[in-house]
Each structure stands twice: as structure tokens, then as C-alpha cells.
Subunit: 341 residues, 2 copies
């Protein structure tokens, strides 16, 4: 079932983005044991823990990404996916749910990794995608989306105007708006990050996660929580939300602006209360990083072959800052979420 | 040890490309059992079967690539690697061997996936790479190599002139020439393709493999042979070498030229005798495909989200041709080796 995180109301597992009370939704199922399917070395390994009918899943799965140790720090390379970001996990499950519901056309307002992932998985699943973009979106991203058969709609105006236009279009046409910011099935996909970490290295002390809309943070949180509910693990890792200066939602808002981390430049995420809960329940915290630190982390990663986008580099910058402040425990895992394009 | 495939002479496991008799070399070790390391879901799963000291391995491993079934055909997505091709497997092992031998500078003549892979893994392992290229190499590939700190040397003339220049440079400077066409450690990396297939789907009836220099074909052959020698499996899969028209080495040479499959446009591979043996021992055969069939296969794959380079598409084109001729068995696996850039 789906459960509202605010009023507790329960819903059938349909494709639903919010409760009538305005609260956000999460899937709630009970599992007896944690038994990954040994025939698979990709997300299909965890099919029993995904709330979708396997027959609707797209044919190209997100992979199990390696955890590597470099100069004493552990990294999970969650950018080595079919479209180059962890978003593929969430999209993979979402698409299956859309197919199950007979939805064949969707709307999204994004020019980032989520849009690319949605366009890719929709293309291979026979779903038509409308992407709303501002005229100043990067040409490379626009052509990548078009190359994946997305129908691109250009909007004059800022990010909010693009968002409003997408919603208007959705209302006028009845074509569902599928933002991953709210979609509970997206988090069912990203929770497999936790399952993998557990199989690879057990439960780390703490995990540093680039955090804007919270889809990575909440996935890791929910995955480890399910493992604890099953009785497979006895404690949760401390989750550290790394945010970008000027766009903080969990940390105090900085007067400076970190323009490098566009993937987490989301000042008002709709799942803010869920994100706060993830930090509280795990004993974690928020840490905010500026441009200089992001750039330094990005250079450090690049020189070691971790060719990720700047947004991912914030997680390392956050770890460095935590270590400097003496609050990093030392047994830390850093989640790298998107490839450098 | 290393064994010459022609005269049988044995050598210590040093970095050596050929026997004094001109024969090619393969690593020969005996394994008692097949016990993949369950903590890893990437190439480190098979560390016990790689002839290198683990401490010298690069930090970013090739992954375990998914096998997926699409419209009744099975594909192994062996392009979802850190640099986008199966070559990462061979380079990963090669780099460890070079480090073990204290080699810190190497030469290669290639502008393809092998060069990109070598430049990437060298960069993260502190090895300096010289790449010899003709002036008409694609600008995108040149800048990608330079971005990975490779020292690019331009040569006026055709492919053979580039090759000769690289060899001359190697002789003059003493910097080793590391062509994967001959390097036995490269095949130790690509043999893990077989280990994965076995863990994922057992032993398929037949596997279609794009074949130029034979590094994929010979890896799959050696991997399955080792599993048979261990007693883990009872038969080898039939290996089908798919070649490009005009560049055949195993099939009769066609008067037509398939210019689309530059990754296998290698008319005189130095491991030709080994490649013949792989087909003979497995009951396989060679099949050659033209441009039209390659293009049709490439379109088919692209529409299904298998965003691979044309060289990979030859494997599907070869499968189609074999099916048309009534020689495909029906339980076929197609190896997709490189991403579309």
C-alpha cells in the first residue's frame, strides 16, 4: 500500500504523487527475509523487494555499482548506470508502474539526469515523454533528450515558469506529470542502493549523499530501514545530507551561492519533512558546501578517474568539511551519483 | 607461466608479448575450483583467477555486465564499463601487471576503445601513455585521450605508418609497446566475460562475438575452457566470430568493404592461429556481415536502448544471418562490446 507520511492515510498501490492532505507518500510492504536473487548482478537481484510486476520492467536494468576504496575513503560509483546516474534506479521502477497502470504518455519539467533517464527508459518501453525546458537549457542536453525521442517543449521564463507550464499542460491534456520529487515508486528504485551497500560492505558508519530533492537520501534511508525491519541488520548508518550553498533546505540557508551543483540546486524540496526524518532517525546531519570546496573535490576525483559531475563532488567536499570539523567517524562511504557529461 | 601457442616454450609470467619463435603467448595456471568472491559484484569477484597481485590493480573495476533478453534474443551488455567498452577488462589486468613489473611509461598505436581504456587506467595508476595517431583521427577521440593525460603523437600516413612509428619510438626510447593484440594479460581480463556469463545464465549454446583482433573471442574461449578444466562445466559454448566484410581473417575475404565496423577492421590479426583454434575447439564458425546488415542491426539495437557502436551491431547482424541460413541454434547470446560515443 501507499501511506501518507503526514496524516497516515493509506492508499492502494496506484500511481499517485501526493495525499489529499498535501502529505507525501511512501510505499509500505512487509518483507519476511532478505534473499537477493543470485542469478542477477544488477537491480533484478532485488525484484522481490520492488512493488511492481516484473513483466512490466524495462529490459535494460541499472547495474550493481562497485564500492571502491581510494586513499582510505570508500566511494560507491553510482554513476556507472545505463544513462550515467543513480536516477536510473528510480526511473526503472517508475516505468514499470506506469506500464502496469496503462499510462503511455507523461510530462516532466527537467533538463537534468532525471529527464535523460526518463526519456531513455520511456523510449525503450513505448511511453511518450514531454519534457518542458527553459530556452536557456544546455544544447547538449536538449539534443540528448531529442535523440531519445522526447518531445521537448520550450518555455520562456525561469524555473518556476517552466514548472507551471508543465503542470498546465498536464491538466489541460490529462497526461500525468511524473516528477521524481514526489513519486513514491522512484524511491523504491533508489532504495536498492542500500541493499547493494549492505551486500558489498555491510552497514557503514556513515554515508555522505548529495541532497537536493532527497531522492538519493530517502532511498538509502528506506532501504536500510527495510533491512532493519526484516531483522537483517541491527543499526542504521548515519546519513549525511550534503547540500550546496544558497540552496540549503536542511542546513541554514547560506548567503553565498554554489552554482556548480545544479543537480541539488533545489531550495524547496517537497519531501523536506521526510528528509528531516531520515537525518533524525539515523542520527545524521546536514552539511553545506561552497563552490571552492566543490571544485577542489571535483579535481581530486577527476585525477583519480572518478569522472563525475560537480553535483557528485559535493559529497566528497562535505566529507572533507566534516572531517575538518572533527565530526566524520572515519568509516565513511561517499555516494557518487552522476557521471560528468 | 606463459606458454607459446606455437612451439610450446614456457616463460615466467613477465610482461612479454611474443615468443622468440614468433608464436603468441597465453597465461597458463591451474585452478582447483571455481569460487567467485561473493563480496564483489564487479571484476574483483574473480581475483583468484587473475594472474596479478591484487595490490597493483587499478582502483576502478570493470563491472559485471547484465545479460538481458529482448524479443527472444539474449544480449550481454559488455559496454557498461567505466570507459564504455569490454576493453576495460583487459586493460585492468594489464595495468596491474605493468605496475608489478615497475613499468611506468608505455606506447600504443590506436585511436579506438583500447586507447581510451589504456589512457584512463594509466592515468589513475600513475603510468604515462604515448598514443600514436594518424592526423585524420576523429577530433572527439583525440580530445578524449588528451583529457585523460595521454601524450598524443601525430603521424603522417596510413595505419601501417602509424604502427611503424610507434614501434620505432618504442625501440628508440625503450618504452614498452603494449598492444592488446598480443598481450596475454589482456586476455586474462577478457576471460572474465565467460565467468560472468556462466554465473548469469550457465553455458549458452552459442555466443556471437564481434571479431577483429580476437581479444573478445579469445577471452570468452579461455574463460570457458578454464571452467571446463576445473570441472565446473561439461561443454564449451559454440563461439561464432562475426567479422566485417573486406576485413575478414577467419572467413573468406569479401570484395565488398564494411566501413562501419572500425573496431574490427583488422585484416591480419597476429593471433589468427589462436582464433582458429577457438572456433575449432568449440565447434563454432565465422560469419561476415556487410554495411547494410550492420546498419539495420544498429538501428534495431538503438530503438531498444542498446546504444552501442556499429562494431557491436555486427554481432546481431551475424546472428540474423546465421538464423536466415538455418545455422543458429536458437539458444544464442550476443556480445555487445562498445558504447556509441
Amino acid at each position: 500500500m501507499l501511506v501518507c507520511t503526514k496524516c497516515g492515510r493509506k492508499f492502494e498501490e496506484k500511481f499517485l504523487l501526493q495525499c489529499e492532505c498535501g502529505g507525501t507518500l511512501l510505499v509500505r510492504r512487509n518483507y519476511d527475509s532478505f534473499l537477493p536473487d543470485p542469478r542477477f548482478f544488477d537491480i533484478r537481484r532485488y525484484l522481490s523487494y520492488l512493488p511492481v510486476d516484473a513483466s512490466f520492467l524495462p529490459k535494460i536494468p541499472p547495474i550493481i555499482t562497485p564500492v571502491v576504496e581510494i586513499e582510505g575513503i570508500e566511494f560507491k560509483l553510482d554513476y556507472l548506470h545505463p544513462t550515467g546516474s543513480f536516477k536510473d534506479r528510480g526511473t526503472f521502477v517508475t516505468i514499470a508502474k506506469l506500464k502496469e497502470e496503462g499510462i503511455s504518455e507523461v510530462v516532466l519539467d527537467s533538463s537534468g539526469n532525471a529527464a535523460l533517464s526518463l526519456a531513455f527508459y520511456s523510449m525503450i518501453s513505448g511511453i511518450k515523454v514531454h519534457i518542458f525546458l527553459s530556452y536557456d537549457a544546455k544544447p547538449g542536453k536538449i539534443s540528448a533528450l531529442m535523440n531519445l525521442n522526447a518531445k521537448v517543449h520550450f518555455v520562456e521564463g525561469d524555473r518556476m515558469k517552466v514548472h507551471d507550464s508543465a503542470l498546465e499542460f498536464s491538466k489541460a491534456t490529462g497526461i500525468p506529470y511524473v516528477t521524481h520529487w514526489l513519486n513514491p515508486y522512484f524511491i523504491e528504485g533508489t532504495k536498492t542502493i542500500a541493499f547493494e551497500i549492505y551486500e558489498e560492505i555491510g552497514v557503514p558508519e556513515e554515508i555522505f549523499i548529495p541532497t537536493g530533492s532527497g531522492t538519493a537520501l530517502l532511498g538509502v534511508w528506506k532501504g536500510f530501514k527495510e533491512l532493519m525491519e526484516i531483522g537483517e541488520i541491527e543499526r542504521l548508518p548515519k546519513l549525511i545530507a550534503v547540500q550546496a550553498e544558497g540552496f540549503e533546505s536542511l542546513c541554514p540557508r547560506s548567503p553565498r551561492i554554489n552554482k556548480l551543483a545544479d543537480g541539488i540546486a533545489i531550495p524547496n524540496p517537497p519531501r523536506l519533512e521526510d528528509m528531516k526524518k531520515a537525518l533524525e532517525e539515523t542520527g545524521g546531519y546536514c552539511i553545506s558546501v561552497g563552490e571552492d570546496d566543490t571544485l577542489a573535490a571535483h579535481h581530486w576525483l577527476k585525477a583519480r578517474g572518478l569522472l563525475v559531475e560537480e553535483t557528485s563532488a559535493t559529497a566528497l567536499a562535505g566529507y572533507w568539511k566534516a572531517r575538518e570539523e572533527g565530526i566524520a567517524t572515519g568509516n565513511s562511504l561517499i555516494l557518487l551519483t552522476g557521471v560528468k557529461r
